[in-house]
Amino acid sequence: MKRKDLLGIQELAREEILEILDTAETLQEISTRPIKKVPALRGKTVINLFFEASTRTRTSFEIAGKRLSADVVNVTASTSSVSKGETLIDTAKTLDAMAADCVVIRHSSSGAPHTIARMTKARVINAGDGAHEHPTQALLDALTIRQRKGRLDGLKVAIVGDIAHSRVARSNAHLLTKCGSHVWLCSAPTLMPVGGHELVTENCEFLHRTHSMEEALQGADIVMMLRVQFERMDESFFPSVREYFRYYGLTRQKVEQAKPGAIIMHPGPMNRGVEIATDVADGPYSVILDQVSAGVAVRMAILFLMLGGQSS
């Protein structure tokens, strides 16, 4: 990987995206072996620096690193210590002092990984920053889609949920439009970002927005449901869970509006009964578990492409 850091999908070229997916596909086989390990990243130090709690993503990165024989260390930095005046620059200097080869950062402030990446020699992977981007999620979603649908172009993808606050929606919007698929962002008016029609900077005509779930789901090949955060109700984004589920929750009837054979995706963790009905989550077209397996493969690919070359 020529670039030092993976901070977002926005700056990636289509070729870079495909390189990661192709590599992920070949590495996926390692997870099927009786001994799930190759020595490719032996002696490399990968630090998971999570300022925001996440068992799922962190575990996925940990497994990915270990399958490549890297030394993976988990650091849960609590934001409360940072609020006592510790700056990001101290964090970056500590990483260099520990000779980390790669740092995986999740932070609740958009742009925090960018700031740290500028200040450290280690290669930085953004595991989710605020509402900005979650590039590895979009990549694993793309791998899942490609494996199920055979391609990434010419599809209709509906992304339904709290678009305004979703980094998953942004990263997927960038990736799928770059690859030539039409993305339909769907949410209540209160949860659609202002200026959202300019959310992507290339292939803008592939990005659509609607408040109508019917319009979004009509003929969709892929339905991606986003997690709703309950705190949004306190800020009057929508009046109640019941009302949200009625208009924006995914039920079996609504799934029938999509194309036959459409797949249902969710980045997890799910709020059953809020954005997705239980029978849909566990139904035959849900690929939620495939996404988890793709996640390990994609993260292995990124770590391998970043660290698998010559030691400098």
Binding site: L88, S110, T115, G130, E133, V194, G195, G196, L199
Partner: protein
């Protein structure tokens, strides 16, 4: 202080002076304008330079008392004169806030002791700037305030703001409002638009400023108060001010150099030196501000100098405080970015600020305090933030090549700043 300012092009549009001549200063006051052969007195050679009534920045945060690690009255004053300003008006959001005469007196006396620039304190509108009850405005006037504002914050309560507009008239004080509906802007850290959507940062909508400007203009009309809009930043607000002035209302408005120079694109790398309130907005807003400067809708350029200790600006974008410094780049940016006729520039930096604030004015006339700004409109220079006289370094203009600079600042006849090539 005695001084002869020799051979400069003296320009004072208010007194209709534009001529190459000398200014004789004795005991800190201008005594004569015209050829002066007083070789016995100290000379300031202004050949090839412009000599104007001293520039006055009416929106500056000096951080003393309370946050002296970011700036003091002394260092803020030093930065001011380095930017060509003979005087600044200091906003009251210090710790404790300037909402009573003892803080006002402290600022006045400390400025006298340590600041090379004149400092006119602005008193708070409400006690502790809480927006609940009026501060002791009259007593602060006696202690020396030149205006009132709750800057940093708006006065949200319409009824209270109306009272302020009415009461301040007793003292002919301008009431300066930082226009921001805190409910609409809640949580926002940059302009709400395509850029904030892409960067995943919460936006401050233009509507937060516009709704309050709209409300305030109505209250100003109803009360006849002397209303001044701080740091205009939106197209709609400019339009509303223009319409109000066309109706003959005596309202005034200011703009900062960063608002007529930069857009929200400056945030693209999450640079906290591009974070301030009101935020950098869209190109459409910048164009409207420039049009407002050109047609007289906007009266004053004031830089909203807001120093912050470097540690605070090294935080995540969300958590970094709002504000950038500006005293040393204001004149350079105005000369480089705007193509203003010289009289208009002097109006915006000197004549209009003096008309708005409650101060004893100065200019090029006999008996005036000898406060002069010397400009070289063709000087090419590069702003190096590390050489700044401010204690703080939070400027987005580091490394900018500018054309035009204040090369001399004279306060009370004393040359407090000089930059000879």
């Amino acid at each position: 202080m005695n001084l002869v300012v020799k051979n400069g092009r003296v320009v004072d549009p208010a007194r209709k002076i534009d001529a190459v001549t000398d200014i004789l200063i004795r005991d800190g006051k201008i005594r004569a304008i015209g050829k002066a052969d007083n070789a016995d007195l100290p000379q300031f050679d202004a050949t090839g330079l412009i000599v104007a009534p001293g520039f006055f920045d009416i929106h500056v945060h000096l951080r003393e008392p309370g946050t002296e690690e970011a700036e003091t009255i002394a260092t803020g004053g030093a930065a001011a004169v380095a930017g060509g300003f003979v005087a600044v008006a200091a906003m009251p959001n210090t710790k404790p806030p300037n909402d009573n005469p003892s803080i006002t007196s402290y600022i006045v006396s400390e400025a006298r002791r340590s600041s090379p620039a004149l400092v006119f304190p602005i008193g708070a509108i409400t006690k502790e700037q809480k927006g609940e009850t009026l501060a002791e405005i009259g007593e602060m006037v006696e202690a020396g305030i030149a205006g009132v504002s709750d800057d940093g914050k708006p006065v949200m309560d319409g009824r209270l703001f109306r009272r302020a507009l009415e009461y301040a008239q007793l003292f002919d004080l301008p009431v300066i409002q930082h226009c921001e509906d805190l409910h609409l802007s809640k949580g926002g850290v940059m302009h709400e638009g395509a850029m904030s959507a892409r960067l995943g940062l919460k936006g401050i909508p233009a509507a937060a400023e516009d709704t309050m400007v709209s409300r305030d203009l109505i209250l100003a009309e109803v009360t006849g108060g002397k209303y001044h809009v701080a740091h205009l930043s939106t197209r709609r607000a400019v339009e509303m001010v223009r319409a109000a002035k066309a109706q003959g209302m005596k309202i005034t408005a200011e703009v900062t150099p960063h608002h007529f120079t930069l857009t929200d694109r400056a945030v693209s790398e999450y640079d906290t030196n591009a974070k301030m309130n009101p935020p950098l907005r869209s190109q459409e807003d910048v164009d409207a501000l420039r049009a407002g400067i050109a047609d007289g809708t906007i009266d004053v350029i004031a830089c909203d100098h807001a120093p912050h200790h470097i540690n605070l600006k090294m935080l995540e974008f969300d958590r970094a405080p709002f504000g950038i410094t500006g005293l040393e780049t204001a004149v350079g940016l105005a000369l480089t970015q705007l193509k203003l006729p010289l009289p208009r520039l002097i109006e915006m930096f000197s004549l209009n600020p003096q008309k708005i604030m409650r101060i004893t004015p100065w200019g090029v006339f006999e008996g005036s305090g000898a406060h002069l700004t010397v400009l070289d409109p063709s000087r090419q220079w590069k702003f190096d933030v590390n050489q700044s006289r401010s204690k703080s370094r939070n400027s987005p203009f580091h490394g900018w090549e500018l054309k035009g600079k204040a090369v001399g600042t004279i306060v009370g006849g004393k040359v407090v700043y000089e930059d000879r090539k």
